[in-house]
Amino acid sequence: MKPVFVFLTLALTLTTANRKISIGFNPGCAGLSGCNGPNPASKLLYIKSEGDCDSIHYVWTFNQKSIPTLLILESSNNASVVSIDWQSFLHIFNSSIHGSIRLKCGKQFCEDSVLSSSVYVLKSIIQYNDTKNNADITDKGNLYVSSYDLSNLNWNISVSQEVNSFLVEGSPYNQTGTFSKDGKLIMKFTTKDKSGRGPLFPHLPYNDQSSMWEIILTNLTTAFVGSRFALDFLVVNPENVSFSGQKTSLSKTVKKITKWSIDDEYSPSVFTSQQILWVNISSERPSSYWLWRTVCYTNVTPSRAFSSDVQTTNLVLINKTTVTGLESNHLLLAIFGKSVIDKLPFKRFSISFGKPDDGFYRATEYLSWTSLVGVGEPPADSLSLMVVCIIFAGVGCPVLVILFGAVYLVVRRCRKHRMQRVALLSNYEPIG
């Protein structure tokens, strides 16, 4: 009885919310020209997830003519806040933009309380002609690769405070190329205040230190018969660079791993997940992570019938000169400064969608892909209670039958023996 009780209390504590989450759109920027109007130039979202002894800060920027960028900071001080000096932040050509975003605990700057940090840049949408129908973006035979830079999109943001999430729809200023017929890139970002599983496939497990990040590509214009799409990302580990722009010793790195699991209970027939980990080189312990099951869905209601594959290319270290748009990114400039961006160890990779013989993107003109970002160790995927029960029943029942059978046979033999002895003694022949 006791273990069951312990298990129940454990389950209860795991599911009750123990973090306070707040979302702010351009917080503290009211009145400045860059934040005014229905479609301001600066679109910054600040999400703070406050726990008992730590705080996690998500800063998203969807600024005009700039690529979407996400900064995640975990601080050991739960009173810490990201403070933005808006006057400096809005002027990218002014060198004072560097340092316009700082972490503050009360009146003090407290970047030394940062436990982990990670930066994500959503660079572009890649379209390629899958002539061999192998859904392999790295195949040299799949020519005609075109890339659509996401700084060309205008982002329409709606925040839902009640469910700790925001929805952002990217559509082009002028409909050309990939986005020429009502195409949209939609992102839904939900910060979690407790542990659980996503309500829809692939039912990703999350904890209170993570956020669910869903990306939808809908109605994109296909340039080729065999068009498939991929998202081009940059990630960087800013911990090698302090906020003041000074390079510290190279103790952290970003790497990609693929995990195989026997358990596909929550995402049928998907046995692999991929993780981008920000790890300490010496201990291999992740400080931040980004993970997903290798599955995307081609229908608004995800189901196995509408599932497709997700492939991730290897992480490639790049220098800034091969990537445009970084030097005009408010968030990167504010954290690192122009001189440091050039030297940052950005790693680039792309996530491509689709599998052979699925009719390419144009078959459904819809793709949705769910991932999880967070700090600390990624939430472990454990066998469900149902599976454990079935295993116990499966082992228990035959054992019970064997025990019962053995006892029955022994008892029967004993009784027979006794009857025979009685018969011998009384000289009476029992029947049967």
């Binding site: 195989w260 026997i262 358990d263 596909d264 209970e265 929550y266 995402s267 049928p268 027939s269 998907v270 046995f271 189901s303 196995r304 019938a305 013989d357 699925d358 009719g359 149902m386 599976v387 079935i390 295993i391 029943a393 499966g394 029942c397 035959p398 039958v401 064997i402 059978g405 029955y408 046979l409 029967r412």
Partner: protein, 497 residues
């Protein structure tokens, strides 16, 4: 093969044979039905008779991904294709033998059932072409009506043309042919689909399925030619006359002993963890182990491939040694083991699938003959009919369930579900062991002991079952599972010859 036959087809000019003559002109030539060469031709035709239906049975498994993609269906709907195949046989396996004996005759029956398979496959292909899943289901239903009864007709032909140990061999060959049909299908339909896709991208599935129907046409031709040869042989008095059997009595069910019911449950519990699994296996191997489609097809068909060489060997072994329940227990435990390995580990599936294939053959050889040990000869037909009937019922229901489980909870849960089914079979086997020991019904005796008891019984009573009855051996089970015919039946057949 057909060239050899062609002179036989214009059999109208055949001289009328006088009564009592063993052979007509060209004694010993291929035209003489009693000659070896003629019988070989007949044997070949018999073997290819079932090729089409076995080829078609597992087409959904071979084209799993393609059907799901092209028809935009989920696993539950996909598995209905298997379910619909099984439904008619819940009823039909009681009447297949009766229809062939009393109503149609083996020749007409055979041609009719072959036509059912062909029509069913055509409807199936048409359904894919016009993109209606219900039409495809209907096609599978029609194939089901034809397929299982065709196997009964095939066995009847074998009994009529061959005797004694020849019969053993013939059943073995028919079974191997059936397995070859399944295996060829598993490994050929994928490439056929890709090839069709290169020139007909709009209706690839439909065209591929129409092409597959050619195997049914081929089998139908075999049925017709075989019917003509059989008619001629009967006219010439060169083959046994068809004997009518006792009709199946459903009321006998209430007299079935507990052991028989346990055997039924083992049968259902075991087979539902094999056939629906193979139906859904291809994607499992692709997704979990990263196999290519061709590799997946190969590993998925290994159970069928292995059963061809294993069945005769195990049949011989079990016949000689006895201990049937112990073998069944061993086979069930091994199958449970292979499902557990597939569910919880990443050990190369070739290992677990080979284990499953070997234990599947072993189970078939040990389980099915047990029925004959505990049921009177006159009830054997009913018992086997009932066994197949609930097996088909089990397959129909479990196929549907398996699809639903896969859609909702994935392969781990599905494997657990199959393991649970085998677990039920395991519990029933343990209970059977117990009941058999307590009631001393002798299912787990060695062949030696069994022979001794039979001899003792022979002394006390002389009434033996009708030696010439084909009731017990004309059932579907021999062709499906490859069990060897119990030795005592052959002894009798030889005596009667």
């Amino acid at each position: 093969m057909h060239d050899e036959n062609s002179p036989l087809l214009d059999g109208a000019e055949e001289p009328v044979v006088k009564r009592g003559r063993r052979c007509n002109i060209n004694c010993g030539s291929i035209r003489d039905p009693t000659s070896l060469s003629h019988r070989l031709v007949v044997l070949t035709l018999m073997c290819f008779l079932g090729f089409g239906s076995y080829f078609c049975y597992d087409i959904p498994a071979a084209l799993h991904t393609q059907i799901r993609n092209d028809m935009d269906i989920n696993e539950a709907t996909f598995m209905q294709l298997y379910s619909w195949y099984s439904w008619p046989n819940v009823i039909l396996c009681f009447f297949g033998g009766f229809l062939i004996d009393r109503v149609l005759g083996v020749r007409v029956g055979c041609v009719l059932f072959s036509s059912f398979v062909l029509v069913g496959q055509l409807v199936f292909a048409l359904g894919a072409s016009v993109h209606h899943i219900w039409l495809m289901d209907m096609g599978r239903f029609i194939i089901g009506i034809g397929g299982e009864s065709l196997a009964v007709a095939q066995n009847t032909y074998a009994v009529l043309w061959f005797q004694g140990s020849d019969l053993n061999l013939v059943f073995g060959l028919q079974l191997s042919m059936a397995r070859i049909g399944s295996t060829v299908n598993m490994n050929v339909m994928g490439p056929v689909y890709s090839w069709v896709a290169s020139f007909c991208p709009s209706n690839t599935l439909g065209v591929s399925l129409f092409l597959a129907a050619s195997t049914c046409v081929f089998s139908l031709i075999c049925a017709i030619v075989l019917g003509l040869l059989d008619k001629r042989a009967e006219r010439l008095g060169a083959r046994k006359a068809q004997k009518t059997d006792e009709p199946i009595k459903l009321t006998a069910v209430k007299d079935f002993p507990l052991q028989l019911w346990l055997i039924f449950f083992i049968c259902v519990g075991y087979y539902v963890a094999i056939f629906p699994f193979i139906g859904l296996g291809k994607i499992f191997f692709e997704e979990k182990y990263g196999f290519t489609p061709a590799q997946s097809s190969a590993v998925n068909s290994i159970v069928y491939i292995l059963s061809a060489p294993c069945s005769p060997v195990f049949g011989f072994m079990v016949d000689r040694l006895g201990f049937n329940v112990t073998w069944v227990l061993l086979a069930v435990v091994a199958t449970l083991g292979s499902h557990v390995i597939l569910a919880f580990t990443f050990i190369n599936p070739w290992f677990s699938m080979c284990l499953m294939g070997v234990s599947y053959s072993l189970l078939a050889c040990a389980l099915w003959p047990m029925v004959a040990f505990i049921v009177d000869q006159c009830q054997l037909g009913t018992a086997y009919g009932f066994m197949q009937s609930i097996q088909n019922l089990g397959l129909a229901v479990i196929s549907l369930l398996a699809g639903l489980i896969l859609d909702g909870s994935g392969y781990l849960m599905l494997e657990l579900f199959f393991s649970a089914c085998v677990g039920v079979a395991l519990i029933c086997t343990l209970l059977l062991l117990l009941v058999d020991k307590v009631r001393e019904s002798g299912l787990n005796y060695s062949t030696k002991t069994r022979d001794r008891i039979a001899k003792e019984q022979e002394k006390s009573q002389d009434t033996r079952f009708d030696p010439k009855s084909v009731q017990g051996i004309r059932n579907r089970y021999y062709s499906r599972i490859g069990a060897q015919i119990p030795e005592h039946l052959f002894a009798q057949t030889k005596v009667s010859a």
